[in-house]
C-alpha cells in the first residue's frame, strides 16, 4: 500500500485569548492510498487542527507532516499552494462554494488554477464528474439555488476534479439532515471504491463512522488506537 500521509510527533499550540491551547500533543499517523478513514472525537479534541495540518493550510508547531513524500514545514507558500492544488481535495462543512459562479464554474475552478488541460479536456472531466454526483440538470445553477445536499455534491465534484491523492472532508455531513448526510457519505464511499480515491473525514456522526473502513479516534490532541476494519484488516494481516 502506498503511503500518502505521514505525521510524526506533530504538536500544535495556538493562542486562545490569553492562554495557549495544546490542540495536538504528539500525533503519529500514517494514511495509505485508497483508505476511507474518519477522524472521530468530541469537539475540541483536535480533529480540525489535525485535518488542517494534513491539508497544508496550517503548519505544526513541532513534528513533521509528509504529504505524498513532501515535508510540509520546509515548503514555501507557493509550494504549499501547489501541493493543495495538485495533491489535495477539500470538502468543507459549510460547502464554501463560490456563490458568484455556477455549478460548472465551481467545479472547473481547480482545473483552471492548474492550467494543464485544454478547454475540451476540462469540459469532459467537469461534465462527467457533475454527472457522477448527479447534478447534470443543475449545471448552470448558482450554489444558492441548490439544497444543502446538492451543494455538498458540488463540493465533492470540485474536490475530485483535480485528481487529488487524498480528499479531506471536515465534518461533511454536519450541515445536512441525516438522510442527505448518508447519501453524501455513500456517494463518497462509492467513489472511493470505484476510483480508489483516498478519503479522510473528521466527524462525530455515528452513521458516518459506521460506514468508514478505518476509525481514528482522537481525544485531547492525541490519537488513541485506530480501529481498523475491512481493507485495513487485510493490510494488517499482510503486514
Amino acid at each position: 500500500m502506498l503511503e500518502i500521509i505521514r505525521l510524526e510527533n506533530v504538536t500544535k499550540q495556538y493562542p486562545l485569548g490569553q492562554v495557549w491551547v495544546d490542540a495536538l500533543r504528539g500525533v503519529n499517523l500514517t494514511l495509505y492510498s485508497g483508505e476511507f478513514a474518519a477522524l472521530v472525537g468530541p469537539s475540541g479534541s483536535g480533529k480540525s487542527t489535525l485535518l488542517n495540518m494534513i491539508g497544508c493550510v496550517d503548519l505544526p508547531s513541532t513534528g513533521k507532516v509528509f504529504v505524498d513524500g513532501n515535508e510540509v514545514s520546509n515548503q514555501s507558500d507557493k509550494q504549499l499552494t501547489k501541493l493543495r492544488l495538485y495533491k489535495l481535495g477539500f470538502i468543507f462543512q459549510t460547502f464554501n462554494l463560490m456563490n458568484v459562479l455556477d455549478v460548472y464554474q465551481n467545479v472547473e475552478m481547480p482545473l483552471l488554477l492548474q492550467g494543464k488541460l485544454s478547454k475540451k479536456q476540462r469540459q469532459y472531466r467537469v461534465n462527467s464528474l457533475i454527472e457522477r454526483v448527479g447534478l447534470s440538470a443543475h449545471m448552470k445553477h448558482r450554489p444558492n439555488e441548490l439544497s444543502g445536499g446538492q451543494r455538498q455534491r458540488v463540493s465533492i465534484a470540485r474536490a475530485l476534479v483535480g485528481k487529488p491523492r487524498i480528499v479531506l472532508a471536515d465534518e461533511p455531513t454536519a450541515n445536512l439532515d441525516s438522510v442527505t448526510g448518508i447519501e453524501i457519505i455513500d456517494l463518497m464511499k462509492e467513489i472511493n471504491q470505484t476510483d480508489q480515491t483516498t478519503f479522510l473525514f473528521s466527524t462525530h456522526d455515528d452513521r458516518v463512522v459506521s460506514r468508514v473502513d478505518r476509525v481514528i479516534p482522537i481525544e485531547d490532541g492525541l490519537i488513541r488506537q485506530s480501529i481498523e476494519k475491512g481493507l485495513a484488516d487485510s493490510r494488517f494481516v499482510n503486514a
Binding site: 492544488l85 459549510t94 464554501n96 483552471l112 488554477l113 492550467g115
Partner: protein
C-alpha cells in the same frame, strides 16, 4: 498565469462586483463623484487660470516685464493699490530704445511696450474758482450780461458759504478762522465792494481768489493711477484695449485717456452715478430698495450731495431746475401720498429748489424709473455730468511734492472682457512725454540729451521752453519741471489753484496759442523711445514658451550687458499675481482634499469588503489559488469599478463643462470678472483635463486598494476551514 486563469480572475471580479451591488454602487458613486469633481474643478481652474492670465497679460503687464536691475523694489504693476503711501523705488530704464532693439530681436517677442506707472491727482477748481474764471473771461471780452450773471452766481455761492460757516462756527475749534471767514463773506455782499470792483476789477478779483475761493472745501480730490506708454505700441500689443468714448490718443501726441469704469465711478456727478447704480441694482440684479438696507443707506447718503448742484448752478439755472421739478414733483405726490389734492399745486409753486430736490431724490421702488428717466431727460443737461469731459484740458498733479501739468483728455477706454474687474481697470493712460515731464525724468543730463536730440531730429521746430511753460501754466522759463515747486504748493492746499487761474487769465491768449502748439505736437516713435521709462512689457507670440523665453531673454540681457532684470507677468501683477497663485493653491488643495477623502473612503470600503470575504479568500487559497490570483482578483475588481465609475464621472464632468462652456458661468462679483476674464467664464476642456482625471483617480484607487488587496493575500487558508457561517 494562463489566459483561462485570467479569465477566471475577471469572471470572479466581475461577478463579485455584481453580487455585492450595493457596495459597488456606493463605492462607485464616490469614485464617480471624485472624478466628476476633479474634471470639473480642473477644467474650471484651468479655464479661470487662462482667463486670469489673459486678463492681465492682454491688458497691462504683457507676458514679461523688464526693468532696472538696480531697482530697490520688485516691479508690481497691480500692487500699487493700497500702496500709495510707500511708492516703490523702481529705478528706470534710461534709454528705452536700446532696450527695445535688443529685446525685439528675440523670435518669440511680438511687442516691446514702454511703460511707467504712477499716481496723480486730477485737480478740478472749485465752484468759486470756476465762477471767477468765467467772470474774468467776461470782463476780458466785455460781455456785461455774462458778467452780471457770474456776479449773481458768486453772490449765491457767498450766501451758501455764509450759511455753512454760520452753522458750523459754534462747533469749530478755530473760532478765529471762522469769524474772519464770515467777515470776508459779508464784505463781498456789501455794495462798496462791488463799486470798487467796477473801478478796479483785478484787485477785487485778487481778494476773491485769495479770501473767498479757499473757503470752498474741495470736492473729493480724485486720485488716478496712470500708466505711461507709447499708445500706438500699447494699442497694437494689447488686444483687449478698446476705445469707449471720444477718440484715441493720436499717435505721438501728448494727452491722457481715462479708464471708462473710473470715468463713470469717480468722475461722474455723484448723484448721476447713484441713479446708474440703483438702476443696475433694480434691473440687472433684481434687488429692491424696500428690502435692501444697503441700497437705502446708499440713497440716503448720496442724495444729500445735491448741495454740489446748488453750488454750481447760477441763478437762472437754479430757477430753471426749480420750475422743472415743480412740474414733475406734484404729480408724483398726488399719485402716492397727498391726501388733499386741492392744496398741493399752489403750495408747491412756492417751495424752493432744495425742497424739490429733496422730494425728487427721495427714491423708492415705485418712483425710481420715472425719476431716473426725468433725471436724464431734464436734470442732467443742466448739471455738469462729468468733472472732466472729452476734449478738456485736465490739470494733473503729481502726488506729493512735485510738478503739475495740463493734459488733453482724448477719450475713455476699456479692456474688453475685464471692464469692471477693478484690477486691470486701475490704470489710465498718459503719453510718455507728459509722464517724463510730470515725474521729473528730465534731469540736467536728460535735458542736455534733449538738446542733443533736438539737433539730431530737427523735426520739432518750435520754442520748446515756451510751449512747455504754456502747458504747465508756469512762468518758469528756464526749466521744464520746476513750475509748482514745494514752496509754491505750500501748506494751504486750497490755494493750489491760484497759479493756474492767475496765469491763465493774465496770459490767456498767448497761453492758449502756445498750449495749442503743444497739443498739436506729434512726437515720432524715435523720439518717444529715446528717453527713460520705468519698465518695458514684452508680449510673446507663443505664451506657452514663457519660461523658456524668459531664460533666453535673461541670457540676452547678460550678453548685451543691459542693466535690466526680467520678471514674468505673475510677479509683475504684484498682489494680483499673488492672489492668482493663492487661488491656484486653494483650488489645488481642494482637489487634493477631495482625492484624499475619496481615497480614504475607497480604502475603507475595500477593506470592509475584503474582511467580509475572508472565508471566500480562504476557500480559494485552500483549493489551490495562489496569492497572485487573490491580489489580481481584488485589483481587477477595484480597477473595473474605478474604470466604470471614473469613466462615467469623467463623462458627466465633460458634459457639465461642455454645457457650462455653452451657457457660461456669470461672474457673481466684480472681482470674479477679473478671474473669469470677463463677465462670463466659458470653461473649456483641455486634452489634459480628460486624461488627468481618470488617470489620477485610477492611481489613487490602486493605492487605496493596495492595502486591502495585500491584506487579502495574507489571509491564511485555515481561516476558510475554521470560519463558521
Amino acid at each position: 498565469m494562463s489566459f483561462s486563469v485570467l479569465q477566471l480572475v475577471f469572471e470572479l471580479s466581475w461577478r463579485s462586483l455584481w453580487s455585492h451591488r450595493i457596495k459597488s454602487v456606493v463605492v462607485g458613486i464616490i469614485i464617480l463623484f471624485g472624478v466628476f469633481l476633479l474634471v470639473v474643478a480642473d477644467a474650471l481652474l484651468e479655464s479661470a487660470n487662462t482667463a486670469m492670465e489673459s486678463s492681465i497679460t492682454s491688458s497691462i503687464t504683457g507676458h514679461l516685464q523688464v526693468y532696472d536691475q538696480a531697482a530697490e523694489d520688485t516691479l508690481s504693476l497691480m500692487g500699487i493699490i493700497g500702496n500709495r503711501g510707500a511708492k516703490p523705488s523702481l529705478g528706470r530704464i534710461a534709454n528705452f530704445k536700446a532696450v527695445r532693439d535688443v529685446l525685439a530681436s528675440h523670435p518669440n517677442v511680438s511687442a516691446v511696450v514702454p511703460m511707467g506707472a504712477d499716481s496723480a491727482i486730477v485737480y478740478q477748481g472749485n465752484a468759486v474758482d470756476k465762477t471767477l474764471t468765467a467772470l474774468r473771461q467776461s470782463i476780458k471780452h466785455n460781455q456785461s450780461a455774462e458778467k452780471q450773471n457770474q456776479i449773481q452766481k458768486l453772490l449765491m455761492l457767498v450766501d451758501k458759504l455764509e450759511e455753512q460757516y454760520g452753522l458750523t462756527i459754534d462747533i469749530s475749534n478755530n473760532q478765529e478762522k471762522f469769524s474772519s471767514a464770515i467777515e470776508d463773506l459779508q464784505t463781498v455782499k456789501t455794495e462798496s465792494f462791488w463799486r470798487d470792483f467796477e473801478k478796479n476789477p483785478e484787485s477785487s478779483l485778487q481778494f476773491l481768489d485769495t479770501h473767498i475761493a479757499p473757503l470752498v472745501s474741495e470736492t473729493n480730490p480724485i486720485f488716478l493711477e496712470f500708466l505711461a506708454t507709447d499708445i500706438t505700441r500699447f494699442k497694437a500689443a494689447f488686444y483687449r484695449f478698446k476705445l469707449v468714448e471720444g477718440e484715441m490718443l493720436p499717435e505721438g501726441a501728448r494727452g491722457i485717456m481715462i479708464n471708462h469704469t473710473q470715468y463713470e465711478e469717480y468722475l461722474k456727478d455723484r448723484i448721476a452715478r447713484m441713479f446708474d447704480v440703483i438702476h443696475d441694482a433694480l434691473h440687472k440684479e433684481n434687488r429692491a430698495i424696500k428690502t435692501d438696507l444697503e441700497l437705502q443707506y446708499y440713497i440716503r447718503r448720496r442724495s444729500k450731495e445735491y448741495q454740489l448742484w446748488l453750488l454750481s448752478l447760477d441763478a437762472r439755472g437754479a430757477e430753471k431746475m426749480r420750475r422743472e421739478l415743480a412740474i414733475f414733483i406734484p404729480s408724483s405726490f398726488s399719485s402716492s401720498l397727498q391726501p388733499e389734492p386741492h392744496s398741493n399745486v399752489g403750495e408747491a409753486e412756492d417751495n424752493n429748489l432744495e425742497f424739490y430736490l429733496q422730494q425728487f431724490l427721495d427714491l423708492n421702488d415705485e418712483n425710481f424709473d420715472r425719476h431716473y428717466q426725468f433725471f436724464y431727460d431734464r436734470i442732467a443737461p443742466m448739471i455738469q455730468l462729468y468733472q472732466v469731459n472729452v476734449g478738456d484740458l485736465v490739470p494733473l498733479q503729481k502726488l506729493g511734492p512735485g510738478s503739475s501739468l495740463k493734459a488733453k483728455f482724448y477719450g475713455t477706454f476699456q479692456f474688453e472682457g475685464v471692464e469692471d474687474s477693478g484690477f486691470s481697470g486701475i490704470y489710465n493712460l498718459i503719453d510718455l512725454m507728459s509722464f517724463r515731464d510730470l515725474y521729473g525724468f528730465m534731469t540736467e543730463d536728460k535735458k542736455r540729451e534733449m538738446v542733443q536730440l533736438k539737433k539730431e531730429f530737427s523735426t520739432v521746430e518750435f520754442d520748446r521752453a515756451g510751449v512747455e511753460d504754456a502747458l504747465f501754466g508756469g512762468d518758469s522759463a528756464s526749466s521744464i519741471v520746476d513750475f509748482g515747486t514745494d514752496d509754491e504748493k505750500g501748506s494751504d492746499s486750497d490755494s493750489d489753484s491760484d497759479n493756474d487761474s492767475d496765469s491763465e487769465s493774465s496770459v490767456l491768449v498767448n497761453t492758449r496759442e502756445r498750449m495749442q502748439v503743444l497739443i498739436d505736437t506729434r512726437y515720432t516713435s524715435e523720439q518717444l523711445d529715446q528717453g527713460p521709462v520705468l519698465s518695458a512689457a514684452l508680449v510673446l507670440k507663443d505664451p506657452a514658451l514663457l519660461k523658456q523665453t524668459e531664460e533666453e531673454i535673461n541670457q540676452l540681457i547678460k550678453e548685451k550687458s543691459l542693466p535690466l532684470q526680467i520678471i514674468d507677468w505673475q510677479t509683475a501683477a504684484g498682489f494680483v499675481g499673488q492672489m492668482i497663485q493663492v487661488m491656484q493653491i486653494v483650488l489645488m488643495t481642494f482637489i487634493v482634499f477631495v482625492f484624499c477623502i475619496s481615497m480614504v473612503v475607497v480604502n475603507n470600503a475595500m477593506l470592509m469588503a475584503t474582511m467580509q470575504r475572508y472565508p471566500e479568500i480562504g476557500t480559494l487559497r485552500a483549493i489551490g489559488a495562489g496569492r497572485g490570483i487573490i491580489l489580481g482578483m481584488f485589483f481587477v475588481e477595484s480597477l473595473m469599478l474605478t474604470l466604470i465609475a471614473g469613466g462615467l464621472g469623467a463623462l458627466l464632468g465633460l458634459v457639465l463643462v461642455q454645457y457650462l462652456g455653452m451657457v457660461g458661468i456669470p461672474a457673481p462679483t466684480y472681482e470674479f470678472r477679473f478671474l473669469f476674464g470677463g463677465e462670463v467664464l466659458f470653461p473649456h476642456i483641455d486634452e489634459d483635463n480628460i486624461y488627468l482625471g481618470p488617470l489620477v483617480i485610477i492611481a489613487v484607487s490602486i493605492v487605496a486598494t493596495l492595502y486591502p488587496a495585500l491584506l487579502a493575500t495574507r489571509v491564511p487558508p485555515v481561516v476558510a476551514l475554521t470560519t463558521q457561517e
